[in-house]
Subunit: 319 residues, 2 copies
C-alpha cells in the first residue's frame, strides 16, 4: 500500500505541478498572489462515501464530482476558478488502484477547468472515505452574484434541464426503471455535474440574484426568496426536462424537489429578457424562463392552466 | 436535534458575524479582498475522531485544536491569520450539546486570534466525526518562510519545549504515569497547541527556513534537510524539555520523535545568533539553539559528550 509520503510525492505532487503557489506541496501551506482589483471567492464542500456517493462509484467520477460541486458554487457567484485544496480521509480498505483512479479524475478535470492543486491533507480514518475540497476563484471587485438581490419584476431563469440527477439516483438505487440510453444519461447527470462557470461569469452585471440548484429547485429558490425578501410565481409546466427524463414517472417532482442538478437558477430584470436567448446560443446551453419574482413573500407553483398546485417536499437538509 | 439549517443559522452564523466576506453564510461561497501587496497563505488540515483526538475529549478543545493546527501551519510560513472555512461531517450520535461546546471553542479562539468563520459545509456521516478546516493568512509579498532555504552554517533553533504533547497522549492512553500537575500540563499541551504566530512573523527576513513540529522533530527536521539539500547536527542534550516532561521516562525520545508539539523549528545564520535572545524576551517564549546545519546530507544526533547516538523511529505517517 502507498504510504502517505509516497502518495503525496507520487500522486498528488504531479497535480500541483502547474500551480506555482503550491510550492510542490513541500511546505506547510500554499501561497497565492491574487491579481490586483480582483476579489477572491472561497467555497468548501465535503462528501462522504455512502452518503454523497456510492462506495463503488468509479473513483475518477467521485473526484470529478467533488471538484465540480465546488466549482458550481464558484459559478453561482460569477467567479472564474483558480485552484483548490483537498483533504482525504482514507479507510484502510481503500486500494492504491482506487487512489490512482481518483487522481486521474482530478487530473482530467484540472485540464478541463484550467486549475491546479494547491495543497491539503491526507489522513487515515476507521470510517468511510471522507473528502473535503476548498475551491478558490476570482471575480472583478464588486461583481459577485448573490442570492439576495432578486426584485419584483425579475424573470426567473434556469439553465440546462432539471430533475435528471435525482432520477439518476433513483435508477442507481434500483427504485426506477428506465430505457438503457436514458439510464446512462441520468446516471451521468448524477455523477458528473457540469458547473456552469461560463454562464455564471456572463451573468455578472445582468442577473440580480443567482444560486446553483444543489438542494432542489424549490429549496434553492426558497433561499433566493428568503434572502431577497420577495415572493415568486413558478410555472411547473415550463420546467426544462431532458428527453431522458420527460416520460419517466415522477419527472416533474424530481425537477421541482430533486437535488444535485447543479444548474444555475437566476433572476434577470424583465427589460433585459431579450439578452438571454443570445447568451444561451453563445454558451450552447438552454436557458429557460420558468417564472417571475413578485412582491411580498412565498412561492406559488402554477400548472399549465395557471392554477396553483401543491408542491412536493420543500427540499433537502443534510441532517 | 438541531437540523442543518438551524445549526448554520443559530450556531455558525454568529461565528461569521465579524467577517464581512462571509456574507452571513447566506451564499454559495465567501468573498475576500486581499490587501494590495500581500500574498495569501492557504492551508487545510483534517482531523478524525479516534485518530487525531479522543471522541470524549472536550468539544471546545477539539475545535480549538482543529483551528490551531492550521494556524500553526500559517505560523510556519510567517503569515498572520485572516479567517477560516470549516467542514463538519456529523455522526447521528453527536448531540446538540456537543455542537454547542464545539462552537464555543471556535468562538473563544476567534477572539484570541482575531479571525472569523468565512464559510464551509456541514454533512452527515455514518462514520466517526470528521473535521476539516481551511485557514487563510497573509504576509508581505515575497516574505514567506519556506522549508527549503537552510544553509550550511545556520544555527538550528526550536521554540518552547518538545515532547510534551507525545507524553500527554501516553498519559491519556494510560501508558504513562505522571504526577497530577504534570499530567494536566502534558494533556493540555496535547489538546491545546499554541500556534507560534508572533514568532513566525518575526522570523520573516531572519530565518532561512522554518517548519512547525507536528510530525516530530526528527521527521520535520528531515523535511527541512531534504528540501534544502543539506545535513545537520543535532545535540540531543540541548532539547528543551518542560519541567513536567523532564523527569519522565522516554522524555528525550518524545522530544526527538513525538508529534503534536506545534513548536517552530527554524534555521538562522550564525552571524545573526545574537538577535534571537532579544526576540525570545519580546515574545516571552523560550528559543533554544539545538544544533546546526551542515553541508552534505543526513542528520547526526549527538549526546552530551559529542558522540553520535542512534535515533528512535524517524517520524509519523498518517497511513
Amino acid at each position: 500500500m502507498l504510504r502517505e509520503f509516497e502518495f503525496i510525492a507520487e500522486r498528488l505532487r504531479p497535480l500541483a505541478a502547474g500551480s506555482a503557489g503550491a510550492l510542490d506541496l513541500e511546505d506547510d501551506a500554499a501561497l497565492l498572489d491574487p491579481p490586483a482589483g480582483m476579489t477572491l471567492v472561497l467555497t468548501k464542500d465535503a462528501m462522504v462515501a455512502g452518503v454523497h456517493f456510492f462506495p463503488d462509484d468509479p473513483p475518477e467520477q467521485i473526484a470529478q464530482k467533488l471538484l465540480r460541486v465546488n466549482l458550481s458554487d464558484l459559478a453561482a457567484m460569477g467567479a472564474a476558478p483558480l485552484g483548490y485544496l483537498l483533504a482525504l480521509a482514507r479507510p484502510k480498505a481503500l486500494t492504491d488502484d482506487w487512489l490512482t483512479g481518483f487522481c486521474a479524475g482530478l487530473a482530467a478535470d484540472q485540464r478541463a477547468f484550467g486549475i491546479g492543486l494547491l495543497g491539503g491533507d491526507t489522513v487515515s480514518t476507521p470510517g468511510p472515505l471522507t473528502l473535503s475540497l476548498t475551491a478558490l476563484g476570482q471575480l472583478p471587485r464588486g461583481g459577485a452574484l448573490r442570492r439576495r438581490g432578486a426584485r419584483q419584476g425579475d424573470d426567473l431563469w434556469v439553465s440546462g434541464t432539471l430533475g435528471d440527477a435525482a432520477l439518476g439516483l433513483l435508477v442507481l438505487q434500483g427504485k426506477l426503471e428506465a430505457p438503457a440510453a436514458a439510464r446512462d444519461f441520468l446516471i451521468e447527470r448524477y455523477r458528473l455535474p457540469r458547473p456552469r462557470l461560463a454562464l455564471g461569469q456572463a451573468l455578472r452585471g445582468l442577473a440580480h440574484a443567482a444560486i446553483d440548484v444543489s438542494d432542489g429547485l424549490l429549496a434553492d429558490l426558497g433561499h433566493i426568496l428568503e434572502t431577497s425578501g420577495v415572493g415568486a410565481e413558478l410555472c411547473a409546466d415550463r420546467l426544462p426536462l431532458s428527453p431522458a427524463a420527460r416520460d419517466l414517472p415522477g419527472a416533474r417532482d424530481a425537477a421541482l424537489a430533486g437535488g444535485d442538478d447543479y444548474e444555475l437558477l437566476f433572476t434577470v430584470p424583465a427589460e433585459r429578457r431579450r439578452a438571454i436567448p443570445a447568451l444561451a446560443r453563445r454558451l450552447d446551453l438552454p436557458l429557460t424562463r420558468i417564472g417571475r419574482i413578485e412582491a411580498g413573500s412565498g412561492l406559488r407553483v402554477l400548472d399549465a392552466a395557471g392554477d396553483e398546485i401543491r408542491s412536493p417536499r420543500a427540499g433537502w437538509q443534510h441532517f
